[in-house]
Subunit: 344 residues, 4 copies
Amino acid sequence: MRAAVIHGPHDLRVEQRDEPTMGSGQVKVRVAAGGICGSDLHYYLHGGFGAVRLKEPMILGHEIAGTVVEIGTNVPDVQVGQKVAVNPSLPCGTCRYCQQGLQNQCLDMRFYGSAMRMPHVQGGFCDLLACEATQAVVVPDHVSLHEAAFAEPLAVCLHAVRRAGSLLGARVLVAGAGPIGVLTIAAARLAGAAEIVATDILDPPLAIARTMGADRTINVASEPDALSPYKAHKGSFDVMFEAAGGASTVLAGLELVRARGILVQVGQGAEVSLPMSLLVAKEIDLRGSFRFHKEFAMAAAAIAKRQIDVRPLLTDVVGLDQAGRAFELAADKSRSMKVHLQFT
Amino acid sequence: MRAAVIHGPHDLRVEQRDEPTMGSGQVKVRVAAGGICGSDLHYYLHGGFGAVRLKEPMILGHEIAGTVVEIGTNVPDVQVGQKVAVNPSLPCGTCRYCQQGLQNQCLDMRFYGSAMRMPHVQGGFCDLLACEATQAVVVPDHVSLHEAAFAEPLAVCLHAVRRAGSLLGARVLVAGAGPIGVLTIAAARLAGAAEIVATDILDPPLAIARTMGADRTINVASEPDALSPYKAHKGSFDVMFEAAGGASTVLAGLELVRARGILVQVGQGAEVSLPMSLLVAKEIDLRGSFRFHKEFAMAAAAIAKRQIDVRPLLTDVVGLDQAGRAFELAADKSRSMKVHLQFT
Amino acid sequence: MRAAVIHGPHDLRVEQRDEPTMGSGQVKVRVAAGGICGSDLHYYLHGGFGAVRLKEPMILGHEIAGTVVEIGTNVPDVQVGQKVAVNPSLPCGTCRYCQQGLQNQCLDMRFYGSAMRMPHVQGGFCDLLACEATQAVVVPDHVSLHEAAFAEPLAVCLHAVRRAGSLLGARVLVAGAGPIGVLTIAAARLAGAAEIVATDILDPPLAIARTMGADRTINVASEPDALSPYKAHKGSFDVMFEAAGGASTVLAGLELVRARGILVQVGQGAEVSLPMSLLVAKEIDLRGSFRFHKEFAMAAAAIAKRQIDVRPLLTDVVGLDQAGRAFELAADKSRSMKVHLQFT
Amino acid sequence: MRAAVIHGPHDLRVEQRDEPTMGSGQVKVRVAAGGICGSDLHYYLHGGFGAVRLKEPMILGHEIAGTVVEIGTNVPDVQVGQKVAVNPSLPCGTCRYCQQGLQNQCLDMRFYGSAMRMPHVQGGFCDLLACEATQAVVVPDHVSLHEAAFAEPLAVCLHAVRRAGSLLGARVLVAGAGPIGVLTIAAARLAGAAEIVATDILDPPLAIARTMGADRTINVASEPDALSPYKAHKGSFDVMFEAAGGASTVLAGLELVRARGILVQVGQGAEVSLPMSLLVAKEIDLRGSFRFHKEFAMAAAAIAKRQIDVRPLLTDVVGLDQAGRAFELAADKSRSMKVHLQFT
């Protein structure tokens, strides 16, 4: 079978690998669609991010959907031929975080296509994947596998929204209109936010932001002062989601969020020179949000019911054999929102 | 009557002022004890802090206790001769924050001895004070007025503890063993923390930290590696209170607090170059805590019942006429924990 | 002007009253639409409910919308001719509950058309109403005044949903498909519930329940066992809203809600013989929900944006002069969901 | 070895049983002290409670402490000779509740001395016990094994307190001054309650209630009106713990707890004819509390540090061979608070 393997910066190769073998409790999935995520891009462009660096060749990919082609022993609930979104997260279930229900903080996490541990955990950009049956979340036939492959990034955003508590009736600011930003908009809308303002420095993603539910979009490059009125009376937004990864965005957020407001950092985030005195005076709550757990099934269900329609995000579909071109496309934010590899 | 008036950096004068007049709903208090707080010191040493600068002469002081000497009309619950701790905080009661029960974030706050608004709100370092009866919290006779004057800084710390949610059974780190740090230790103990570790760079305050309830104290200047074992398994502390105002303390906290842990910044805090990626990966919750509201009455009650015994903090008592010497003493952290002015 | 005045059980009279005079901060509203609520019906059918009994003639009505016809002094934000939903709730703003942000629990509440206090607070079923400008929530012109009159019952349901915390991704049961039940369905959908099951003993309201967002409806009279599978594994629903007012519904709920689940009682509720041992063993959280405060503005906004389309609820519109017939219609649950009085 | 085996109502026999064999990860404990709990008494007096009925002979007992006498393979952290409190709760770790951190709601729970499942889970009233090493919580030598045996009932009470959220500064009512009531008082004190009122219908337990931290005790049999003033202004207590198991206590609680207050039912509770309209109007939160999970270690630690001194509760110690007499003593509430069996 084929696999998209990263060997180093700009060295992505489509290679032949042995087909995976299956164990008890597992299923084999023929992968159909794979979304290129920001972390995939970091491996491709820079060989890693922060302290996470590539130390050996690794199959990339963790936004995966496909069709079940084989079922192992002790798998009661899945059938061959069913469409599945594949949850790339495999927590141990027994460490102190798992036993507290915080599986995304598992001390022994195995997450597809991640160089955090050694040997690296191989990813899902390959023709065939053997995974735990619990990782394969069935979606109905009317959902395309490209839609299903959005379950992973949507799960990240649903988790971020849940980190903020109830959004019902809230005024929300989403900074950054990349895939995580616009799916956070959709998730905040699903959660009942009353008003959503979205910002970015490019117009095309802001158009998609409006499609996904933003009430107002602001290009902070071309309208640098448009947010200022929201700073009045100690700030206007109950919750801000920072999905731009910028230091200046966080600093602006401290002024835009109301006193006792919540600022959720989604995605890796920058190094920020943070004035703690402002955070103190307004008693702001700055929260990190990382990956997801039960939100994966929530995301698959929301996509299946079209409570959230993810299709406006898919800007390009590229065959696996042209993986390099797909990654170059994905790197161009002015042109691409989400690029999918097509396997079959 | 006499008042301690700050005119500029190192220019503190004991001056004569007219006795205050009283309105309906007010009481007149003969001030007996006044604690020198960090913000008083900032006015004395630097003429202000951050964006808050002295623009006209101002009576300092907001840690005040005394005896009621006169009662206005429409004051049913106070008697002449009663001891009171004076709450220096006077929110408007009608703004959107007050109507949400967030009076400490009042948009029209009048807080004693603060240059935040113009004209400045005069403070309580004076012989006689006319205040709203609701600001005068009666304490029983067996409590000294020096103890009662600790109600204000203790209220700050009870508020900080409440910002962290329930501490029952929690492992807590308190960084910084100044007055706010050691009262936070006492407040965390009162709230049922299972284990409290306190840090500072000086030994004398750490001795008081132990008296106030720390299970273990660490001088991070002389034992720089003693905290390292607490970093294992994504961190050990459920909650950290940063009361040192240091950037390095916050950064260390990100590693010492467990995943999903809470880091409460009490006091003004430094400018911190914060790696958001770590805050994200561990999903840490960084919360500011500012002043107090209903915690003032809680603090007075805890002192009155000696649930918290504040007496170990009082290192010096200096007559008002020597106010300058009192401030110099208060500025020497190696020698003084809390310095009180004595009025009568 | 005309007013619909209740004098005793089944004694509702349309009478002439003096036009109201206005004070500072008030506006005068020409009432156009008035919804008949369950409590209005109780006054009409029984002269009250529980301990609340009619002791003098009272204008009924608290689901009111109309057009501003006159503006008092000190009212900056409203214009003559604007459409408004009228908030029937007027808390004092200063009692201990108001100052905690719990205005719906105000100790000195004035709520339109309520016999809780003496003299009774007159209601809004009259041609002209003078109210505080803060009670008049402007809605855009494209919204009909019949829609706007749903702001009040929708506010009750948004409050109930907020009492349950975040519903994002939750499995929800709504028992009872009267106006409160079906608006709770809509509110739970708005809040991101993943699955909503609704029950009633009549089919017509269940049809409206489906329109308002229920995924599945069950007629528990004709399908008495259909809920049983939801009892497996200590129960299936994260949250149940009891809007049927039945004792048996609450008892069934204890088995249908999962361990640590939440059961919110909306509406007055019955006397229930509650087995505390089951509530204990499953650690169920049984919460009362009463009226609303800031949810009124949220409701008006959700109606204005058609985030919730309330129009399927309006089964009858009857002119004020036939108020008695309107009440008889409203009392027939098999036929009517919501009956509106028409004033102009 | 000996064991106290219940065969039916009033048929408790001290019998010889085979010594337990040990598996990997287990330790063998020589039991020294065993507290008689209310559920033990129910089996003894009535053969069970509610739906839980004795169907085969069962060793009673789940408040157990002893000394480690043998250590199995793969047990790194325990030594022979150490004193341990034995956690009688053994959740499966893998069911949906366990994986949410709600282990006390485990769908496959094995709890010592419980007839909930068939075959029954044998209890700890026996000379030797083989348990998972994780169940054996080490306590320091200075703690007596009788104190250590209080870890279980104290864990129940710490769990109940945690169900109420933060109690710091709260006004608390504890109804019922049996062992659970008075340990709840101690737990609420530990959690920083500002004021604790305790009620019972007998004076001797109220004396112990005061020792354990109640500020005021009321004998509601001899002073039936003493609680009435607390009903003013919609109620006075932020939180009430119902540990009396009485219907009238719950009903009184609805009036004594403030609006939006919390009423936690600890212990099995009675059948209560509950007026939902009052629960609704005051928006009371009625919560069940059942057993414990991580609170067991918290309890053992609080006893070890004497943050809570449990010794005033121990009214009788009776040798195992006189187990029947011990149970008769325990059944006499006017005379006994907690009766311990002594094994060695």
